[in-house]
Structure formats: structure tokens, C-alpha cells
Subunit: 318 residues, 2 copies
């Protein structure tokens, strides 16, 4: 289907550094949709490299980043944001002039600051962030349609090379994403509220529940269908990736968390003083945002994400 | 399938007061699985009654609760917990001796306190709470398998009539639920952490996001796939039901919220001071709870609830 329709590849040689969920999904999609002529997979973890070879995700696989990027036209860093600076430093002087460096980090300001000093002469850096993912990690977790219909945010610095930006944009559009451009600072603020703080409070409540003495862990698990289990999905996301996100987007996360806390204090006060109208007003207002997300195709309209209607087996065995 | 296997009905005449998501799901399931001989649907809302007639969910439909329950063997209150007392009062003297009153409220202590004074002579009250639901409301939202494989908690008072408890247990087992018994007080504590506080913080963050000046609502919606959208599902739940839950389980909710806040303050401090190990430790620990929920069949193991792999259409139209 899509392969047959792909015209010119976006780049000739694509190098992907870090073959986790995102990196391996880019590799699968780039090949399936004909976005490049060859792929080099670079990962410092030998077990990951072995798996990438078994899965046949790339044309060549190496643990040596400097060697791997040598003939690449586009290099995408798919490593935790805390590692981006060190990888960029290792690539210094090894990328060819006219090539483009990009990344997929969930934080942009800190990555730009960490990567920019190490850029080689003639190499453009076009930071990117595909807003997509699952709670699973590693090269087996990726799939070619992960980015389909999802947004990818580019944060090119002032005066960025237009051709380089277009190359990165074309790659993401080829992967099925909708590309939008904004400043790194604004990106970090938007993602703090739409992604980082939600992950933080999900991790937090799952931790709180695990530590209770009055309610057993077995009870938490059994009765999770009352709402809790939705939080556990994102609280199962990659720990290293998320540690780095919070450490590298500290200011925006703490600012948004401060607002969340103020609002939560007001809600707690409404509960304590029995202000049912304040609660009902908020609970009515929040339904509109959900409708907007469903209308924009970013969510299924199926009740309970479609998981509410179980397979018939439980009834067969009644 | 299941119909063919249903032996004796659990009760002869079943009365359901309130035909929303839960009430209409009980009606559908009770009929489909042969759990009663006839169903009377009672709802004070004329539009709901009309819809129940159109959908053919009951053998008779009335707005008069006192009249509707007259020949019922089992009456189930499926109204917001704040309305349980008033409905019980309206039923006083109208239920037949030997019949059983039950409910489905998400709060048990307050419902027991509100309903018990109005019980008719010879009527047993067996409070119940099926831990299941979706973000949709009303008689159209229900379906017969909503409770399949989910837990239903009974909180019979000390010295409750054993036959009455068994009747309610048999109904829920017939609907596919796994029945567990505990005290009303313990129920309210368990549900505060597994359901009520998760809903509260979901409502809260969606409200916080809607009120930002620096990030537009359109941005929140577009980039919601980063985690936020999971919260919007439960923040789209019925406002009246949830207002009543918080007002009627105030103490347990505020206690659990206090713990959540303490833990969140510690996390915020770890972020501010760059304590990556503390973050990584928590983020690793929380994965185990998720695995327990999936292992117990209370959640799908599919990445992203199975919604991560979109239909092929977006690619077809590339």
C-alpha cells in the first residue's frame, strides 16, 4: 500500500542513534514507506544491537556512533534527553558537511543547549519531538505506524537552514505525522502540561497507592477498574527517559505543577466545605476538552478506550 | 450462549431505580442471562423512561417508585449516591416483606446511613458496588457485559440476612462479576485510592490545562497523545454522580489526597534538587503494579490500550 506510493526517498542514508521504541519505529516506518535508501542503526547496548540485527531493522548496525554517522544525510538521536549532549559530542567532526542532525526528545530547550556546542561545521541541527508513544520500551516495542495521525513538533532555532528543516519535516510527514513548528521554550511549556505533569502525577498516585498500610496492594490491583488503572499505563513508561525529562524541563514542570496544586487545593476545599456546585461546574467543563480530543482524532470515542466489551470467554465458562 | 445455560432465575421480579449506564446495563444483563422473570424500570426522568421503552429494556416502565417496587423481590437503586436516601424514603412501606433492597453506589458508608432509617419492616438492605463503568452516561450507554470479569463489592451490615446477601451475590455472579465482601468503611477507603482520588486529579488537571493563558486549548488538544488524553477519559465521567461521590466520601478522599500531596511534594523537591535516583526508583517501582493489573485481567496488555495501531486509512490517503 504505502510503499507503492512513496516517490523519492527523503534522504539517501538515515542514521538512527538509539533503537528503542521511537528509534525502532522510525526505522520500521522509514523502510516501509520508502523514506530512505539505507538505514544505519547505532546503539551502545550490545543486546539491543543483536535484537536489531535479528529483527532486520537496518542495513548496518554498529556500536560506534562516530563511524556509523559518517555517510549519513540525516542523523536522528533517539536517546534519553539526558544523553543527547554526550552523543552529540561523540559525533563531533564525524558528520559530513551538509548533513542534518535531529532528535526526538520530549524536552527541547535543554537538548538544544546540550547539543549545539558540539555541532560540526556545516551540519544543521533541527530539533524534533514526535508526540506519540506507548508504555513499552526497546526495539521490539516499535511499529511503523506509531506516528500516524500524531503531531510532530519541530523547534528550529532562529535562522535555521530552511532546506534542513524541510528534510526533517518531509521525513515526519512520510511517517504519517502532522508537523508543527514552534519555539523550544513554548514547546517545553506545552508539553509540561500535556505530557510531563500527567506522567508525574500518574507515577505519584501509583506510588502512593503502593505505600498504603490500610489498603493492600492486592486490593489496589483488583479494584483498579474504578479509574486507577488508566494511570498505571503511563506510570509504566520508561524510567530513564522520564527521569531525564523531569530533570531537563524542571522550570516548566514545576511551574505547571504549581498551578495543578493550587487548583487541587481549591477542589479539596470545595469537598471539605460541601460546595457541590463548584465540583459540578468543573466536572461539566472538563467534558468539553475530551470531546475536542476525540473530534481531532487523537483519541478513540469508544467507551473505556474500547476495552469495556470483553471477549465472550468469561460468559462461555459461567 | 449464556442464555441457554442459565438455570433458575435469581429473582422473579427485579426493580431497577435509575436507568443510567449502570442501571441499564443490569437490565440488559439480567434479561440476557436469564437472571429474573420480569423487570420493572423506574426513573423519574420522562425522557429516560421514553428511551427505556424504545430500547425495550424492561417489562414495565414507571416514574412512580412506590408503585414500581410493589411486587419486586429485589430492588436496586442505581441513582447518584446523594439521591439514595430520598429514594429509600419514597419506597418506605411499599416494598413487600421478604424482599431485598440493594444499590450500586460508589460510596457505601454514607449510603448505608442515608438508606437504613427508611427500610420497611421485613426488608433487608444489602449494599453493593460493581467496580465497572465507562465515561458515558444514560440508558443508551449500558451493555450487558459491562460487569463481566469485574469485581462487585458487597458491604452487608453486621448480622445481615444471609439469604438476602446470597440473592444479591447470585445476581452479580450471574452478570459475570466476581463478588467480594468487606465492611462499608474499608470499601470507602479502598475506593478512595483506586477510584475517587484518581478521578479527582484527572478532573483537576484537565481543568488546570483549560485555564492556562500561555498554552492554548487547541494546543492541549493537539498534543494530548503525550499522556494528557488518558486523564480526559475519566474526567468526562458523569458530573452529578461524581459530585455526590466526593461529598459523600469526604473523609476518606481527603485522607488519601493528603497522602498523594505529601508524595507529590517529595517528587517536586526531587525534581528541583536534581535527585535523579529518587525519580528513577519510583518510576521503576510503579511498573510492578501495572503488571499485576494486567495479570489479573483487569486491563489489556496491548500497548496504549490497543489504540496505538491506527486503522490503515491515514496511510491510504498519504
Amino acid at each position: 500500500m504505502a510503499e507503492a506510493r512513496a516517490a523519492e526517498p527523503v534522504v539517501s542514508r538515515l542514521a538512527i542513534v538509539g533503537l528503542g521504541l521511537i528509534g525502532s519505529s522510525i526505522a520500521r516506518g522509514a523502510r516501509q514507506f520508502g523514506l530512505c535508501r539505507s538505514i544505519v542503526a547505532i546503539d551502545r547496548d550490545e543486546a539491543v544491537r543483536a535484537r536489531v540485527r535479528d529483527l532486520g531493522l537496518a542495513d548496518s548496525v554498529t556500536g560506534d556512533a562516530a563511524e556509523g554517522v559518517e555517510n549519513a544525510d540525516l542523523v536522528i538521536l533517539c536517546v534519553p534527553v539526558g544523553a543527547a549532549g554526550a552523543v552529540a559530542q561523540a559525533l563531533h567532526g564525524h558528520m559530513k558537511p551538509g548533513s542534518v542532525l535531529s532528535d526526538v526528545g520530549s524536552v527541547k530547550g535543554a537538548v538544544v543547549a546540550a547539543v549545539t556546542p558540539h555541532l560540526s561545521e556545516g551540519v544543521a541541527f533541527v530539533p524534533a519531538h514526535p508526540v506519540a508513544g506507548t508504555e513499552y520500551s526497546g526495539p521490539d516495542a516499535g511499529f511503523s505506524t506509531l506516528f500516524s495521525g500524531r503531531w510532530c513538533i519541530l523547534t528550529p532555532p532562529e535562522g535555521a537552514d530552511e532546506a534542513a528543516v524541510e528534510r526533517v519535516r518531509a521525513l515526519w510527514q512520510g511517517l504519517g505525522a502532522i508537523v508543527e513548528t514552534m519555539s523550544a521554550e513554548h514547546h517545553d511549556l506545552v508539553l509540561a502540561i500535556t505530557s510531563h505533569v500527567p506522567h508525574l502525577i500518574a507515577y505519584n498516585i501509583v506510588g502512593t497507592a503502593a505505600d498504603l498500610e490500610t489498603v493492600t496492594q492486592s486490593e489496589v490491583i483488583k479494584f483498579s477498574a474504578g479509574g486507577f488503572r488508566d494511570f498505571t499505563r503511563i506510570a509504566a513508561s520508561d524510567p530513564t527517559m522520564w527521569r531525564d525529562v523531569f530533570l531537563n524541563n524542571k522550570d516548566a514542570v514545576l511551574e505547571m505543577l504549581g498551578r495543578f496544586n493550587e487548583d487541587l487545593a481549591a477542589l479539596a476545599r470545595a469537598i471539605r466545605w460541601g460546595d457541590g456546585d463548584a465540583l459540578h461546574d468543573l466536572f461539566t467543563r472538563t467534558r468539553a476538552i475530551r470531546r475536542g480530543i476525540v473530534a481531532l482524532g487523537q483519541e478513540t470515542a469508544e467507551p473505556d478506550f474500547g476495552r469495556a466489551r470483553p471477549a465472550p470467554e468469561p460468559h462461555e465458562s459461567r
